[in-house]
Symmetry: C2
Subunit: 234 residues, 2 copies
């Protein structure tokens, strides 16, 4: 529990700041899966009352980032393979549908913007900066959804991602991971340039499934981060 020291609160309403702060802390692994978090302690650390804390936790619970057990405590959810698969399915469905539209709508400016993003990614690959690459990767996928005219799809996909983001963050330090990603981004861009929805969808689908391949290794490395014996309850 080192939120207040390591992470400054961004501008916005208090509860919004708390929400963003906690969400990022969970995805970044600063709050570990299974860890119990206390409303009172959070309120003290962040120097706010319990009310905005509770509002933030309400949202995080809705995203399955935390699990609230009445009169017992609030816990950071463990990563469930089933939940990861669910998130993958949602993201794949939404982004692949978006890229098909994008392939038909992308103009020269759109293509140029994507090329610029990939160039920046290549720079980051050279310096092996996982943190910045993750941001640029998100930008690339968001840009595709934006080109399709359905930026909302990216919002939903990112929302549903949940556990997926945590897995990705954990799985970054793998050999050739970043360079492989860039190659696949190129494949998607080529398909967009040709205006081929089928090729673009296939390339993106293949790309999106790369992340999943790392899950088994992660389970071996951090078995306590995963929780698969019990299904998600309503």
């Amino acid at each position: 529990m080192r939120i207040s020291h390591s992470r400054r609160l961004e501008p916005g309403s208090t509860s919004r700041r708390v929400y963003s702060s906690l969400r990022e802390a969970i995805i970044a692994g600063e709050l570990e899966p299974g860890q119990r978090i206390s409303e009172n302690e959070l309120a003290e650390r962040l120097s706010v009352s319990r009310t905005p804390i509770r509002e933030a936790l309400t949202l995080l619970r809705d995203e399955r980032f935390v699990q609230v057990v009445p009169q017992l405590g609030t816990f950071v959810t463990r990563i469930s393979s089933a939940a990861v698969a669910d998130a993958q399915f949602v993201r794949e469905a939404l982004e692949c549908a978006a890229v098909r539209v994008a392939a038909e709508r992308a103009d020269r400016n759109d293509i140029a913007a994507l090329e610029g993003l990939i160039r920046r990614q290549e720079e980051v690959v050279a310096e092996t900066n996982y943190e910045r690459f993750a941001l640029l990767d998100d930008e690339f996928h968001a840009a595709i959804c934006e080109i399709s005219g359905r930026g909302f799809a990216w919002e939903v996909a990112q929302r549903a991602k949940g556990h997926l983001s945590r897995v990705r963050r954990l799985s970054l330090p793998q050999p050739n991971y970043l360079s492989t990603m860039v190659v696949e981004h190129h494949a998607v861009l080529d398909a967009l340039r040709r205006g081929s929805p089928d090729d673009a969808e296939a390339a993106l689908r293949h790309h999106l499934r790369m992340v999943l391949s790392a899950v088994p290794a992660l389970r071996d490395e951090h078995p306590d981060y995963f929780e698969d014996e019990e299904e998600r309850s309503a």
Copy 2:
């Protein structure tokens, strides 16, 4: 504002009851688009304090069912054609992806269950009961997602639906609407029976787009329910 009289609170935690109650009231149109709702008034009507009201509104704001303006008021969002299109895109992408999987996985029991649902729908069509049909329609689509092994997709789709549900509810009283729906359900089921992902996807996509066709007529009938001059703000 006739919540307390027309709608009983379901079991569950207080804030959860308030949330469900308000959500259904908005979708059903009991709370009209653009209407201002007061935390104090809601708390009084539902005989609870403002705290659970605020938690429910936090969730509803996240789903774009309400818009909260600080120090001014909370308003039921108007229906935006862009938001409806977004919801349609999300639903279409998720359910079409699910039905492809379902076409490959459905066994005799699954097909029989869907047949049973359609039979019940035919009964409801005979009595022209829009309310019950809406429930059975949801059950049908949820069942398809369930068969695909990705029930989560239905949860996300339903969440994203938002304004879409409100449009559907408004658009029900149209001639031959229900019988057309059943015919299209049959088409989807036939494709599933044949185990053809392509046909199932095509049939479902066609079916899902039926709802949208009613939007223009609705805008003419209830122009004050729609809000399209300003884009949704972050």
